[in-house]
Symmetry: C2
Subunit: 403 residues, 2 copies
């Protein structure tokens, strides 16, 4: 039974955090985004070197280019992109976000325009399942209807109804045609509406998916509403299945979500920030390497880090690459940040048998520092800036950390 | 004595090809261009993996950003960019080509504009030597005056006079301040004018440089004139010193130059072509990977190649990366092409004790094929295209190679 593939092997003493074993890997894990079967600015060989264990690709986009048929003929996505870890495929529901692709939606499916050929295509739950089976990922995701934020109640109701109806169709088709032992996860929608989250979660629970994703969050809603919606959803889906909070996020958010019972993550955040020259460290918080202070800084990004970037280059050299606009620096900083995320997940795994609270407390100050820095840099209200400066000093003092 | 650092260890039986030993490496060698202390789209760690043994950086450009002082304070260019092989630095004479940088020239030196600060700077032979000593490359190049092609006789005469005068000033300064055992190579100018090449070569010979470069070629002049100028120059500089033909070139050109007595090369050609999706192979000639025929081609670029790209990815996957405009494919194809150049130099070294003629004969057909392909694709003269097609068939038949 595919449902048994995720097995709980440890639980946190103080929070809802836990560790699942799944094939060769353990939760909590973070998946770099490899939408089109590649990282952006880095390749599968790089991912192997920074010990990435799982990634998420996008079924819809791969069906447009190079096509599910080509990937199938080349032996599936693992072979195609030469990645031996776990591969999730997202369905394409998220691409409703793309003005470039999205045409419309009705009960039957989602209409997209193929940007390579101009052709209109209708993505139905059944077609989407077949694409994911052809691509042969390890975990497929149901086709869902994801409204943008903010959405009216009416639109959210429609989305939940459709997401449930499509989940049923996906499950039926997938059960019938799954001859590759692929897992299918359900996706709970409902925006930040607690009652709709509850309805959607309860209904999908009856379908007994081997894992559940929480979709439609981390798309611009206030953070407190996101946590509320997450908690409600978690309450109404089977506790003993792995939970995937789609699209999250920042280091501190990952730790908090783990403490609530989330096991799996994906986000563009670490690579998007890297492409803007921002890097995460355990030694010195977040650094912006374009800053002049790094021009002759002999240190690696993070002296506690074993990634191929910290092992080879100084902050001064990376600063130089940024200054001369060498495109490859986007690759180097992406690799460092992804390695940081892997280490963060390792630290979470190591702490769970005792309690993840401890490492959250380490991260809380750096998270707050980051928020304060954003205010200091961007706010035009001198009063607010002054308050942020004071706040920063207080936290710095409390935590004994360098600013 | 620094002049003895290059030692001849083998000579070709039929041509003027030879093998020098220099520190840990052997000639003939090819230097990827790392103008600003980095490859374009690839890093030093990549170069280590594809066994690049020598590179050339640019003293003038590095003195603008991050500055010779910063590189010196970080322990020299080897440490700065983390490259343990041989590093040549070009002087900056070549940047007279850059409309963006070049302001003017007189007997005292070359005037440039620093694009980072807008500041005007005067690059004198003495300053240029000090920059290269601060950067601490293994081989420094004299500051030369390189006219664009085509140039009038008058301009060539001026260039030769100035190049000689500056070589004297460079040598004097370098001899006095060289406390890092850096070698200084002279550069012979003279365009495609045989008598001027002779004058320049003879005069520089009297200065007893440990090695000589042939500059001002491979800049758009007809190929036969380039070979003629090369031969004349070689005739008038000491045979037992290493010779560096700056800016060459294509695989076949490298082999031909080696047979004439050239030992060292640098060129953007392998990486520039890679960035345009063109790759070199020993198995199938030159491939343009954007072509539709590669969409589901399971083979690596070259099945005889051990580079990290051929070891990991299929032509189909690389074609996909090109199709979706993934920037990292420029890195992958650059690595393959540079590895191809390393292999080409290895093959040359292996053949020299017998004769390099053999591998030139292997390459001649593929070189001709490439020329014919260019005609077939670009010419609007149907008669010429037909002739190229016939020529291609004949060569294909003669050499027993696939078209």
């Amino acid at each position: 039974m595919s449902r048994m593939q995720f097995e709980i092997i440890a639980r946190d003493k103080k929070t809802k955090a836990r560790i699942f074993k799944f094939k060769t890997i353990k939760t909590p894990f973070f998946m770099p985004v490899a939408t089109k079967a590649t990282g952006k600015f880095y390749d599968s060989n790089d991912m192997k070197k920074i010990k990435v264990k799982a990634i998420i690709a996008n079924a819809l986009l791969l069906s447009l280019e190079p096509s599910a048929a080509v990937i199938k003929s080349l032996g599936g996505i693992h072979r195609f992109m030469n990645f031996k870890g776990i591969i999730f495929t997202d369905s394409g529901g998220f691409q409703m976000y793309s003005e470039h692709l999205f045409l419309g939606i009705n009960e039957n499916g989602i209409r997209f325009r193929n940007p390579f050929t101009g052709q209109r295509i209708l993505c139905t739950p059944e077609k989407d399942m077949q694409i994911q089976l052809d691509i042969a990922s390890d975990v497929a995701m149901c086709l869902d209807d994801m409204p943008l934020y903010p959405a009216k109640k009416e639109r959210l109701i429609q989305s939940v109804k459709r997401t449930i109806a499509w989940a049923i169709r996906c499950k039926r088709y997938h059960d019938k045609h799954n001859n590759i032992n692929q897992l299918l996860f359900g996706i709970v929608q409902g925006g930040t509406d607690n009652s709709l989250r509850k309805i959607c979660a309860k209904k999908l629970s009856t379908l007994k998916f081997p894992g559940y994703a929480i979709g439609g969050l981390a798309i611009g809603e206030p953070e407190n509403l996101m946590w509320q919606a997450t908690k409600v959803t978690l309450k109404y889906i089977p506790e003993k299945t792995p939970k995937y909070l789609m699209g999250l996020g920042k280091p501190y958010q990952l730790l908090k979500a783990i403490s609530l019972g989330i096991d799996i993550f994906d986000s563009r955040y670490p690579t998007k920030t890297a492409r803007h020259n921002q890097v995460f460290t355990f030694s010195d918080g977040t650094l912006k390497l374009q800053r002049k202070i790094y021009k002759d800084d002999k240190n690696p990004i993070d002296k506690t880090c074993n990634c191929p970037v910290c092992q080879n280059y100084s902050r001064a050299y990376l600063h130089h690459l940024i200054k001369i606009k060498e495109p490859n620096v986007k690759r180097l900083l992406s690799l460092h940040n992804l390695y940081f995320y892997q280490r963060l997940m390792e630290k979470a795994q190591e702490s769970i048998p005792e309690s993840i609270d401890h490492i959250i407390n380490i991260f809380l100050p750096s998270h707050i520092m980051q928020v304060m820095d954003t205010i200091i840099e961007n706010s035009k209200d001198p009063h607010l800036v002054e308050k942020a400066r004071l706040n920063k000093m207080t936290w710095s003092y409390k935590s004994g950390r360098k600013i």
